[in-house]
Subunit: 352 residues, 2 copies
DNA sequence: CTGTTAGCGCTTTCAC
DNA sequence: GTGAAAGCGCTAACAG
């Protein structure tokens, strides 16, 4: 038959192994309108007549339609996502920041990609690289120091970027943070004012933890100012976890290395709390024999006995402010302040 | 001119306000191959000849190409994402679970969408609904109780779903958890064995916190068994935060309401720690005057004095195991156990 | 091992 | 207020 001679090119249109899911076309068919109208009804209900809207809403319900954001993203070039990159999720003070960020972004329809770097710069770069592929509409990062490539990727992404939890002279875009350096100087000055004069800095120093480095530098600088000529004492460990047991270990280490120490400046309340509790066990009187300070004003700080002198950081607020900055940018609203210094507060309690 | 009479249909092909970003076609052109080959080189380098691969890699570098996952997702029907839904991010024990989940998923190329519900069922449903639009390849959820609609959406999504932190007789798909009910019974039995006989259950009970409810039920059931005829004592608050101050408040409340109490069973170590520290302030001897137990084995539990009797939960392991189950499913590997009971461990310490 | 073609599901553009 | 057509950037399907 002549039909047989039809060129092989004319074959049945391919069907991809589709989701078998309901698409906007199904809704459109059910409502008796075009997909375009469905799209409009979903994004801006007011742009569609009341009756049409109702039919569409009913069709959505009946078909159990769930919009496919990947297609939406591809067509509109807006992903409605924000990528958040933090050193560790289980560090509760960072978790608070993410909660703040999420609290502001979710109601606005933005979803959050979360990744953690374990304080490893190369992992941060890898994460930024792969998250870039998601084409987020904004980036939120804890930290202000990144590899060259990571910085380039962020700049090339063409979307707002918030760096946080620190300050930097060369921001990529936006910054919400405070000076870790100044915070530590404030601690040292407080201790010096109280008459302590053999200070030891103690903490966990991961290679990629720029905040810890800034704090150490703040300690050293303030120490040089207040105790000129006195060799500053620093005791750090690199591989230990941020847990109370590490604080207890560091206490022992400090007492063994620098027995003349009369005040220990810890980089975190977690460590300081572990140290205070160990002092209680050992019969070391805090602050009479030894003053102890922390950082972060964790929940425990005020409840410990003696209560812990520390530096309060508005960690949740960092997340919320960052989200607001990102939102403003993503919605093309004016952003006046590109760098927000949220500051810190020294809380003098009984441990010093 | 005749040209003017060309039908208006013949107009220049539309260009959309494209990303102005580098696409795979640019890389293909630079490498002198088709986009298909670039795609293959990216997803399975071994499927491309060595020389071609090198040229492509160079082209990627030169062009600063970043793959667009939204397009990839749309074309391949795989998003390479997992949606994680938790009650609160800043609850450190849940953060550990997410860290475990993320630790396993990120190296496999999956990215994590994180959302939190604040223990509100309606918010969970809304979150599940909107995250469904992202077409994640899997869902991870803390909790086993959801609204009808939420359950339907999850079932219709056609991807693996892990419910966690509890056990349920009607799982949606996969479960990684433990019996909160049994854990609490174990605590009560321990206290009863030690001779305590006026037990009070104390905690924060958010309406949407099914784990807390299960724990209360476990307390009541065990109490009924061990102290038949004795009215069980329960003191809860609904709107307070999970912070130590709430534990201190609850201690005061229990002592005012049920002064005869000789043991308090808290739903969380955070509360129990706040209570222990307040007891120390008040001169209430723990456990001589009053036994106190917690839940979760937070870092502080072993460092408190007296150290805290509690129930240890392998929270990070919940995340890791869940991720492994999801991965197996997403990669079409066999999954033998659909329900994993990771159990719990009663840690008897000095507070009881 | 590599290329061609069609299509994923949506939104933009343009027309009415 | 609504619709038709085209295209977002990629990969599955097929052919060679």
């Amino acid at each position: 038959m002549p039909r047989e001679s039809v060129p092989t090119k004319t074959r049945a249109p391919r069907r991809r192994s589709a989701t078998s899911a309901v698409t906007m076309a199904d809704v459109a068919a059910a409502a008796g309108v075009s997909t375009q109208t469905v799209s409009r009804a979903l994004r801006d209900p007011a742009s569609v007549s009341g009756e049409t809207l109702q039919r569409i809403e009913e069709a959505v319900r009946n078909t159990h339609y769930v919009q496919n954001f990947a297609a939406s993203h591809l067509a509109s070039n807006r992903s409605m996502t924000v990528a958040a990159i933090i050193p560790a999720i289980s560090t509760s003070i960072f978790a608070e920041t993410i909660q703040g960020l999420s609290d502001v972004l979710l109601p606005e329809g933005y979803q959050v990609f979360l990744g953690h770097t374990d304080y490893v710069a190369a992992r941060e770069e890898a994460l930024i690289r792969s998250l870039s592929g998601r084409r987020p509409d904004g980036f939120f990062i804890i930290g202000t120091q990144h590899t060259r490539d990571a910085t380039h990727i962020l700049k090339r992404a063409g979307v707002p970027v918030v760096e946080s939890w620190g300050l930097t002279s060369r921001p990529i875009d936006l910054v919400v943070g405070f000076s870790n350096h100044a915070a530590m100087k404030t601690v040292v000055n407080h201790l010096a004012d109280r008459g302590y004069h053999r200070l030891t800095f103690a903490g966990v120093m991961k290679p990629g933890d720029d905040r810890a480095k800034e704090r150490r530098k703040g300690f050293l600088d303030a120490h040089g100012e207040r105790f000129p000529g006195v060799e500053p004492q620093v005791v750090t460990v690199a591989s230990n976890s941020m847990i109370m047991a590490t604080g207890a270990e560091l206490l022992d280490l400090v007492r063994a290395t620098y027995p003349e120490t009369d005040a220990i400046v810890f980089t975190s309340d977690v460590l300081a709390s572990g140290a205070v509790l160990r002092c209680n066990d050992l019969g070391v009187r805090v602050p009479a024999d030894l003053a102890i300070t922390g950082f972060g004003n964790y929940d425990i700080a005020g409840h410990l006995r003696p209560s812990l002198t520390t530096v309060a950081i508005a960690s949740r607020r960092i997340g919320m402010l960052s989200a607001e900055l990102l939102l403003a940018r993503m919605q093309n609203k004016p952003v006046t302040e590109r760098v927000i210094d949220i500051g810190f507060e020294l809380l003098v309690r009984d441990s010093s």
